[in-house]
Symmetry: C2
Subunit: 412 residues, 2 copies
């Protein structure tokens, strides 16, 4: 029988009533002839409560103990869903990460999955078709025998990894939206749900601000070629609507040039004025930031022939803005600049589409359209299948709507 | 270094502030030179919440899934206490039942401990004096690899079993009272805290209604000869008060004739009138009740020479009263009785003391004292170190006070 992995997030299992709804979704797929592993998150709000207790107990907490505490949330949900399925006459049992086992690195609170031994779950499938209810977000580091967790949102990654280990036909991610949209429908009411999107595009969308899936889970789906279907858990279980399939490019017949528009508000721009224009200057600026785990994104250097100095502009997440300024100040002598200027009221808007590979001038059309709306572009970065522009925050919605129309993404 | 097990119940770990107080108790004993394992319950109210969810999900729940869900409560507390100890600079780590492992039978929700492998915890003691924070109430059934729980109140049993496995000098049970009293201080304000009580006496006290310890934990302490100290977790950790040591009889220098008075309100009396007085009649009545797991306590048969019938009176827990009547009705033809009479407004008062072994007439003095107060005795049972009387509920407090004074237990 084909195998299916179904994943339900915190709002989908927020109480017993909603867990019962989840069980009905599972029943529908069982009736359709699948062997099923369900991956569940903690009930909505539980993880936050547990994290708050850890911080109260010890602000500089030991991540191994943090993992022991927070992993309990998924343990509860897995047992409750197994009980609910059993109440419908469906054989089911809960599986904790250490029971399967889902083996991970020892990077507590941010572990990566090394390997999943799916043998025990497969035996359950063969014996009585038992539904495996898997606690998401967690695993075990085998040498120490201790519980690990994968970092916030890690249940998506658990689900994709389970699907790969089980050689499942598909991994269905049930969430509170009904799929991946061409852009955020709260900004552009004409945004369309995509029927399909390639792994690469989804990876860019997720990295650039679309919050529907954890970035790591998309990476894993791409590497392990796990078709991943994003759909709504709030549908009528008896009559579910369509979602978005994340799959290989080759399975998408006709590509639009542009697939979607993402935007991110967690951006800030920093400009160093009159930096001495000498070899090693970039290292002097960016090595200390990298060592402080600050993720520098766009970098622009304005080369000026007539001068021995240059201006260097770059972006960091807004949440790292103050820390970045402090590090630059501390290294001012080594870097040798006259002045630092910063701006946090900026937004990054990104245009994504594998079609860009074969279509020239996609970005140029955007620059023209934005300039016609008098939107000033502060910085630009490009890659093979996307480009991003940094603009002033008040123009974010206008820019997204403008580009959405420009590339024919509006719902008709 | 000597080893100590400390156990804290739900009200003692109800929030982070109280967990910090627990950590201070642990620190005091560390400073006194012990290697320490701390056994913790779930935060007050958590187990009830988890049990309610299980019942909501599936009223006829699978006890294996119930165990997966409810054991999470102790998991959380163990991590939070380890974090709190670490915040005070004390090396500590949490241990789940399956990590130690605490091996149990597969009787989910009511498992018994088979064996504890203390090697890993002892290694922690030797390496850096690490405090082992053990999740109480839970273990693992090794063949299935599944989490088991020991039944409500099971953390007391976890603690005593840990103390036996670690060959600890003592098992300290911290609770919301400061020890074992001669009787319930809410009824008799003159009740005294006992400095010491023998295992046998404590077992009777616990079985007969004193709720300070789980009966099984006392049994285990007696069998494994674990000195168990009941004390208050609400004391100032820097200046704790005395509690009650449960120990071998030989360690108690001078025995009072009577050590304590227990009472139980969960009693009901049933009388079968005009039962045919023939061999096998007791089996006809009591085998069906035993098969229904109904615990029959006192049994009185009034033998009447002049008749071929007899009356049989016995007691069952009040909570089983209706079920008992139904079973008797169902077996009426087999038993052959004319009428069944019942009374739930009854109370069992028990007088306990190893001194009874060597002192005659202890019970007779009680019967006389009760009759002087016009308290009617409905039934009597005796054993080597206790006797119990069943009386009408309204006289319970008067009877307890009367006996407490009679045997010189009043505080002076």
């Amino acid at each position: 029988m084909p195998r299916l992995v179904m994943k339900f997030g915190g709002t989908s299992v927020a109480d017993i009533e909603r867990i019962r709804n989840v069980a009905l979704h599972v029943k529908r797929e069982l009736d359709a002839g699948y062997h099923i592993a369900v991956v569940v998150s903690a009930m909505a709000g539980k993880t936050n409560e547990l994290v708050a207790w850890c911080k109260q107990a010890n602000p500089r907490f030991d991540p191994a103990e943090y993992d022991a505490v927070v992993s309990s949330g998924e343990q509860v949900t897995s047992g409750l869903l197994a009980l609910t399925l059993q109440s419908m006459g469906i054989p089911a049992r809960s599986w904790q990460g250490w029971q399967i086992p889902i083996k991970t690195t020892d990077a507590h609170a941010a572990a990566r999955i090394d390997d999943i031994d799916a043998a025990a779950i497969l035996r359950g499938f063969e014996e009585n078709g038992s539904v495996a209810v898997v606690a998401g977000f967690q695993g075990i580091h085998e040498d120490s025998g201790r519980i690990t967790t994968l970092g916030r949102g890690g249940s998506d990654t658990s689900a994709v990894a389970m699907a790969a280990a089980l050689e499942a036909e598909r991994c269905d991610i049930y969430t509170d939206v009904d799929g991946v949209y061409t852009t955020d429908p709260r900004i552009v009411p004409k945004a369309r749900r995509l029927d399909r999107i390639s792994y690469e595009e989804m990876l860019e969308m997720a990295s650039l601000g679309a919050k529907v899936l954890q970035v790591r889970s998309v990476e894993l789906a791409m590497i392990r070629k796990v078709p991943t279907y994003v759909r709504s858990s709030f549908d009528d279980p008896a009559d579910p609507k369509l979602g978005t399939l994340i799959c290989g490019e080759e399975e998408i017949m006709e590509h639009q040039t542009v697939t979607g528009i993402a935007y991110s508000k967690d951006e800030s721009q920093i400009t160093l004025r009159n930096v001495a224009d000498r070899p090693g200057i970039a290292a002097a600026i960016f090595v200390p930031l990298a060592e402080a785990n600050i993720n520098v994104d766009m970098i622009i250097q304005v080369v000026s022939d007539a001068s021995t100095t240059t201006d260097i502009t770059f972006t960091v997440p807004e949440s790292e803005y103050e820390r970045t300024l402090a590090i630059l100040e501390k290294n001012k002598d080594a870097i040798d600049f006259s002045e630092v200027q910063g701006e946090t009221e900026v937004v990054k808007v990104s245009v994504i589409g594998v079609g860009m590979r074969s279509h020239a001038g996609v970005a140029a059309r955007a620059f023209k359209a934005l300039s016609e709306k008098h939107i000033n572009i502060r910085a630009i970065t490009t890659s093979e299948i996307k480009f991003s522009v940094l603009i002033d925050a008040p123009y974010a919605e206008l820019a997204v709507r403008t580009l959405h129309s420009l590339y024919n993404l509006d719902q008709v």
